[in-house]
């Protein structure tokens, strides 16, 4: 009975030791669904990035008849202006991804700041910031986006800002919980005892610890942002001069692609959006699973639901 029992957690700690980059790669390698998601996202991003060189036709050149059928020269057919669908999809994905990432950047900046401040300082700061977050959480995003976009007028910049300033609540909550636990760790207390200032502690000790979670959250937020852009475009609030995937769907819908029997003008753009969102969900979900041991059983475990009360309870989680 004199076996030396390892302190719980020591073995795991040794396993987690490699850096963050390795962690991301390992998660992707270990989970087939995550590597599938990453592959999808990588291919779409590559096609979008290389659109100016890879696209078979010009974005504004009429390459064939209006609503031309799919053929060898145009594998996905032509749209209502006789523009090649493959070309359109590549350029559309480019705009959609830009909007998705830019809006996510805005939302990460706000959500990250709110979450870190609330979690790190606690007390009154925490209460006030989380109250504000709770109100934002309950007010339905999409109608508010519609209202703001309708008042400001359609432009890519406005859409990015509108989506960004409404998506940050989830990030703020998740980060706050994580920062709260990191703040109590011994090395943070030691750093404080050694006289490190708030900025130094946050930047050097807290942020590196919450960074993987922030990345997982970023990937999931990109999916929501792209969905929202597609929805706003469909309601006629997209930038008329920029062809996003949402705009392609809206265009096909407005120009009666369905009643003309031109399914190829409307099926591929939506399928591509679904594929991007699926890729983001797979990667983000896997990262979240890997990061949160409490979720080890499954994604979005019941425990989080039981402990975290219904939406918007102040000071919870």
């Amino acid at each position: 009975m004199s076996v030396v029992v390892n302190e719980p957690g020591v073995a795991e700690a040794a396993e987690v030791a490699p850096g963050r980059g390795t962690f991301l790669l390992r998660t992707l390698r270990r989970r087939p669904s995550a590597s599938l998601g990453a592959t999808i996202l990588g291919l779409v991003a590559l096609a979008a990035l290389l659109a100016p060189w890879l696209a078979p036709y010009g974005l504004h050149t009429q390459a064939g008849p209006v609503f031309g059928r799919p053929s060898w020269t145009h594998p996905l057919g032509l749209d209502d202006g006789g523009i090649d669908m493959v070309t359109l999809l590549m350029w559309g994905a480019r705009i959609s991804l830009v909007v998705g990432f830019a809006a996510t950047l805005v939302s990460m900046a706000i959500g990250g700041t709110v979450g870190v401040l609330a979690g790190y300082f606690g007390g009154k700061t925490d209460t006030i910031l989380m109250r504000i977050t709770d109100y934002f959480l309950v007010i339905p995003d999409v109608p508010l986006m519609i209202v703001v976009a309708a008042i400001w007028g359609p432009s890519l910049f406005h859409i990015v800002i509108v989506i960004g300033i409404l998506l940050w609540t989830g990030t703020a909550r998740v980060l706050r919980a994580q920062v709260k636990s990191v703040r109590e760790r011994v090395y943070v207390k030691r750093a404080r005892a050694l006289g490190a200032g708030h900025v130094r502690i946050v930047v050097r000790h807290v942020l590196p610890q919450v960074a993987p979670l922030l990345i997982a959250n970023t990937v999931l937020t990109v999916a929501v942002a792209i969905f929202d852009e597609t929805a706003l475009s469909f309601l006629g609030l997209g930038d008329p001069s920029r062809t996003s995937l949402g705009k392609v769907i809206e265009n096909a819908f407005q120009r009666a692609a369905i009643s003309s029997g031109a399914w190829w003008a409307i099926v591929p753009p939506g399928a591509l959006v679904a594929l991007i969102i699926l890729g983001c969900s797979l990667v983000g979900g896997a990262l979240e699973d890997a990061l949160n041991p409490r979720l080890a059983v499954a994604h979005l475990s019941a425990r989080t639901f039981r402990l975290r009360p219904p939406v918007g309870r102040p000071g919870a989680s």
Binding site: D134, Y135, V138, I139, P140, D141, V142, P143, L144, I146, V147, V148, A150, I151, A223, F227, T230, A231, F234, L235, G236, L237, G246, I249, F253, I258, W263, I266, V267, P269, G270, V273, A274, L275, I277, L278, S281, L282, V297, A298, H299, L300, S301, A302, R303, F305, R306, P309, P310, V311, G312, R313, P314
Partner: protein
Amino acid sequence: MRGADYVIKRTGFAVVTVLVAVTLNFALFRLAPGSAVSDLSRVPHATPELRHALKQQFGLDKPKLTQYVIYLRELAHGNLGVSFANEQPVWSNLRTALMNTLPMVLLGTLFAIVVGTLTGVIAAWRRGTPTEAATVTTALGFYSMPTHWLGLMLVIIFAGTLPTGGMTNEFLIDPSFWTHLKDLASHIVLPSLTLGLVLYGEYTLIVRSAMLETLGEDYILTARAKGLKPWTIVRRHALRNAMLPVATLVALSLGYIVAGAILIETVFSWPGIGRAVYEAVLQRDYPMLQGAFLLLTISVVFFNLVADLLYFKLDPRITE
């Protein structure tokens, strides 16, 4: 007393949220630059009398702070101004639209809850089998689809078999009650199905997780050791506890339902509140947009409160 405390706290939060939403609504529209948005009396083609009456009612020539007080007072009386599009009071327009939206949304949500719970339970019970993989993949697939695009896909698939637009067939003259009901039922299928399908994906994933968690509990092991049949364990022991999150689930997805309703009603020309939002955006009908936004926000806050209280009733542990 703890329970009463909880109820009061939640209700208080809901009331404050509504006040925040009401204020936000005022700030967004009335403080917006440009009188096209902020001036409720600029109803196109209106008689000077109507414009004058609106100016008087809402005190549009007074300072903004006074306007805010007047706005609150008029709001309490259900006065949201006049629609730019049809010169009817906004509130009466919205009431009709809301009555059309409710059955469509309820039917879709019900479908999602039933199918989502069923597939979620199957996925959890068949963990690690191809059945689980297939169920989860399908759910994730539907979850990823843009709502309006899924609606359009259903239009392509069912065009010819089911009506794809509107709420009733306008060419049915003076139909009997049953014909009317049948007509209505055939029109509601596709919009409700679209909403049901996009929601069900999310529900499946969450119910599956909840079930997996519950299946790992000690009392399930006990039930198994007692030699109970698998189905009895699922039904009597696991599902009851796993169903707790469903109340929360509906609350969590309310925002999603509202967004879905706007997109779906646009696709299917369903004359509900979502369609009203779309038309208000198209025609720059700001009073309607303002009213619809307020109504949607208040509904979401209200149903959130209902879910909170329901959850408390189901699981009193949460106040601890």
